[in-house]
Every structure is written in structure tokens, then in C-alpha cells.
């Protein structure tokens, strides 16, 4: 773990801040324009989920450096109500906030790794990773 930086999500404007920081980090790691855009879109979804369903939370970034590859990890943490049926929110076409392509399944598609941990009444933590190719 090289370094970690976080953006607190309290208002809609913070989503932009999270995108900006995430994109800067992705660029420094060496991601190209498309991947930067994908990472930013994934950050948007994660941050918007916090803003809409949990109220407050934070989005943190880690630059990953392993022997043979580099990548970025994004962790979204909130203390919101948690998700009751994870399998349901991960289902395509389930998203209530938007049409096709929105929600957590979209995030999963944009990134290489996806991990979610949620406890009812306690909150949700989602960690996603994208590797540099």
C-alpha cells in the first residue's frame, strides 16, 4: 500500500471531488483515458450510493503496487442502513435509481475486482480494484 487518501461524502458536490481525486491518482498510476473515465464513472456510482442511501460516508483510494502489476483500489465506506439482499442489488436490471447500466452491477463491470460487505443497520463497505494492463 503506497498511500491512501479519502474524500468524505456528505453532499452531492463531494461526488465530483471523489471523481477528481480518483482520476488524478489513476492518471499518476498510468491508466489511459478510457480507463480513467471508467474509474471515474465507478467512483461516481459508489459515491452516489452513499449520498442517496446512507447519507454520509467516504470514498478512499489506494495505489497498488505488486511485483508484476500496478492498480488502483477504491473503497467506499458508509454507516448507513446496510443492504438487506446483496444478491438482489447485484442483479442486472434491478437498479431503482436508473435504467440499464446503473448501480452496483455497472461498477462491477467497470472494474476488475469487486468485494462487498454489508451489515443491516451498521453499514456497507465496497472495495473495487482495477489493474493496469
Amino acid at each position: 500500500m503506497d498511500f491512501q487518501s479519502c474524500v468524505n461524502i456528505k453532499k452531492e458536490w463531494d461526488i465530483v471531488g471523489a471523481r477528481q481525486l480518483g482520476r488524478d491518482i489513476a492518471r499518476k498510476i498510468g491508466f489511459g483515458t478510457v480507463d480513467q473515465a471508467r474509474i471515474a464513472t465507478a467512483i461516481s456510482e459508489l459515491a452516489r450510493n452513499i449520498y442517496l442511501y446512507a447519507g454520509t460516508g467516504k470514498v478512499c483510494f489506494e495505489a497498488l503496487e505488486e511485483i508484476d502489476h500496478k492498480g488502483i483500489a477504491i473503497v467506499a465506506i458508509d454507516n448507513g442502513p446496510g443492504i438487506q439482499e446483496i444478491s438482489q442489488v447485484m442483479e442486472d436490471g434491478f437498479s431503482t435509481s436508473g435504467g440499464l447500466g446503473a448501480g452496483l452491477p455497472g461498477v462491477k463491470r467497470l472494474m476488475d475486482e469487486f468485494n462487498i460487505h454489508s451489515e443491516e443497520g451498521k453499514g456497507t463497505e465496497i472495495r473495487v480494484v482495477k489493474w493496469l494492463r
Binding site: 478510457v34 473515465a37 471508467r38 471515474a40 464513472t41 442486472d92 440499464l100 447500466g101
Partner: protein, 336 residues
């Protein structure tokens, strides 16, 4: 990845070609390219990216604002790309569901299959065609060694899977009280309680149950709100509506059904059907009852099975081979 890269190289060449010639040939190739890309599940943002890269290579001096605007375009396409992938996976899921439904439809066919009994005294014609994969119509024959034939014709409101599930439930309920087979009003009262208890409030079933005694040629029957059948008098070449009152199954638990009895003369026919027959449409026009009867009449000289087959073919043609509702038609004729 290598085939993909190759295609991207290809895109640059195509683009170059088009910018030089601006002719239709190059545009046609662009169309081919997009089709190939879709086959390889390449999403739209990917194509935009290739476009940007190609331009950068071809015009290294590209003005900054063009570059910026292309990045802007790329950003707006990312969500489309995700939507495209989701669409792909939903399509696969749809195929999966389709094949599951066809398995279920086959199971239903086996489950609800009924054998048309061969009886010397009575000639039987029966046909049931579903509008969709799963049939919401149901008909069943039971013939016992006493010479009594029991016939059930039912229609579950709604179509498709829910209707089919409900139908299976009715079939099993009927099997569970075999002693009532020859008691039409009793069987309807019992089924009514089963449906009322177990089915969604907006779902209901109509059923006609009749039993034909081949020893004295009497037909006893009751109806639970089912589409009226017809009795055909051969001597007068006339139809009489078998219009009997009775509430549909599943509305009110305390419903009782009246049973009627009719003597059947030689050569006469009993015609039972579902509303898929009487609600045939030609364009926006409904087919009137008289037309249904005159069609049946025109085939009345044929064997019973051929009558139902021909009538079906007639209405299938009339509706341009598109059934709006499940279609069931049964003809019984006293032979001796």
C-alpha cells in the same frame, strides 16, 4: 486482445480511407466494422477511444479543444458501454429463461395430458392449442368401467406461467377426489374451495364439468361461469345453447352449483369450448356466435375429430395464424 487490436488498426485504416475519399464504400465498411465489433462484444466507448487514438496518430497537431471535446464525448459514452454489457448479459439470461420455460411447458404437457377414450357409443373430438408456450386451457377425460365418461373443460384467467401453475393445481385437486368424478356439481363445489383458498385474488377459473352415461345416454353437467357450450339437434340441424348459471371458481367460498341433466339422441352432438373460440377476432371485428356455429355446422357431417380440426384451421386462418387466447374445442357425438 490481439484480434481486438487488429480491428483497431483496421479502424484507423478505414477512417483514413474515408477522410481521403468520402465515398460510400468506406461508409459501408464502417457498418461492417461495427457489426463485427458487436459480435465481439466491443462496447461503444471502446470505439470512441479507438477513434481518438487514430486521430492523434493521424493528426499529431490536433488542436487542444478538439482533443478536449473528444475526451468529453468519451466520458459520456462510458455509461452506454456499461449498459451495453448489461444488455448482453440480460439477453443471455433471457435465452436461459426461454429454455427453462420450454422445459416447463413440456412438463406441463405430460402432467396435464389426457387420453381421449375410445368408446363405441360416443365419438369424441378434442383439440387444445395454447396461444403462448404454456396452456391456460385444460380439458380432461375419465372413463370408468360403468360406462360413464367424465369431461372437464376449464380456462384459467390470464395466460402463461401463472395460469399454467394454477391449472396443475386444479388437475391434482381433481385427482384427489376420484369418487366425485360422476358428480359435476359436487366436483365444482370442491374445486371452488381449493381455488378460493390458494389462488391470488384476481385469478379465477371457469370450468364446465359434464358426465355422460353411455348406458342410458344422459348427460349431466354443471358450469362454473364457463363459456356456454352448444347442443346440436341432428334432426332439426339446429344448435341450442347450453347456458347454465354458476359463479366462476375462486370468488366466493360458499358457492354451490346446480346440476342439469339432458337426454342425448342418436346423432346429436355436445360442443364444449373456451372463450378462445368465441372471442376470435378478425382485425378489429369480433366473430359473432352465429359464425362460430355456422362453421361448426358446415363440418357437422365429418367425424368428430375432423370437425374440431377443421374449425380450428378455419379460425386460425381468419386470425392470420395468430392466436390471442388459448383455444379448446371438444365435440361429443352419440353414435348408436
Amino acid at each position: 486482445m490481439s484480434t481486438l487490436k487488429l480491428d483497431l488498426e483496421n479502424y484507423k485504416e478505414l477512417l483514413k480511407e474515408y477522410i481521403r475519399t468520402k465515398d460510400e464504400q468506406a461508409l459501408y465498411q464502417a457498418e461492417q466494422f461495427s457489426k463485427q465489433s458487436m459480435q465481439q462484444k466491443i462496447s461503444p466507448d471502446e470505439i470512441i477511444n479507438v477513434h481518438i487514438q487514430s486521430l492523434q496518430e493521424m493528426y499529431p497537431e490536433m488542436p487542444d479543444y478538439i482533443q478536449a471535446s473528444l475526451n468529453f464525448l468519451l466520458e459520456t459514452m462510458i455509461s452506454y458501454g456499461v449498459a451495453y454489457q448489461e444488455h448482453q448479459s440480460l439477453r443471455e439470461k433471457q435465452l436461459e429463461l426461454k429454455s427453462e420455460i420450454s422445459v416447463a411447458a413440456n412438463m406441463q404437457k405430460t402432467l396435464l395430458s389426457t387420453v381421449k377414450p375410445e368408446i363405441d357409443e360416443i365419438e369424441i373430438g378434442a383439440l387444445s392449442v395454447p396461444a403462448k408456450q404454456m396452456n391456460g386451457d385444460y380439458h380432461h377425460f375419465v372413463y370408468d368401467d360403468q360406462g360413464t365418461l367424465g369431461i372437464a373443460v376449464a380456462d384459467v384467467i390470464g395466460k402463461g406461467v401463472p395460469a399454467a401453475l394454477c391449472m396443475s393445481m386444479i388437475k391434482y385437486a381433481m385427482d384427489s377426489f376420484p369418487e366425485m368424478r360422476m358428480d359435476p356439481s359436487g366436483i365444482l363445489s370442491s374445486l371452488n374451495r381449493v381455488v378460493e383458498r390458494n389462488v391470488d385474488s384476481s385469478m379465477f377459473v371457469t370450468m364446465f364439468y359434464g358426465s355422460y352415461d353411455s348406458r342410458d345416454h344422459t348427460f349431466s353437467y354443471s358450469s362454473a361461469g364457463h363459456e356456454p357450450g352448444f347442443y346440436y339437434h341432428q334432426d332439426k340441424d339446429e344448435f341450442e345453447e347450453i347456458d347454465v348459471p354458476g359463479l366462476v371458481l375462486g370468488v366466493s367460498a360458499e358457492t354451490s352449483y346446480t346440476q342439469y341433466k339432458k337426454k342425448v339422441e342418436k346423432g346429436d352432438m355436445i360442443i364444449l369450448l373456451t372463450d378462445g373460440v368465441t372471442e376470435c377476432r378478425q382485425g378489429d371485428r369480433f366473430i359473432e356466435q352465429e359464425e362460430v356455429l355456422s362453421v361448426i355446422k358446415s363440418y357437422a357431417h365429418l367425424p368428430a375429430q375432423e370437425i374440431v380440426d377443421q374449425v380450428y384451421k378455419y379460425f386460425e386462418r381468419l386470425q392470420d395464424f395468430y392466436l390471442r387466447d388459448d383455444f379448446t374445442l371438444i365435440v361429443l357425438r352419440r353414435n348408436v
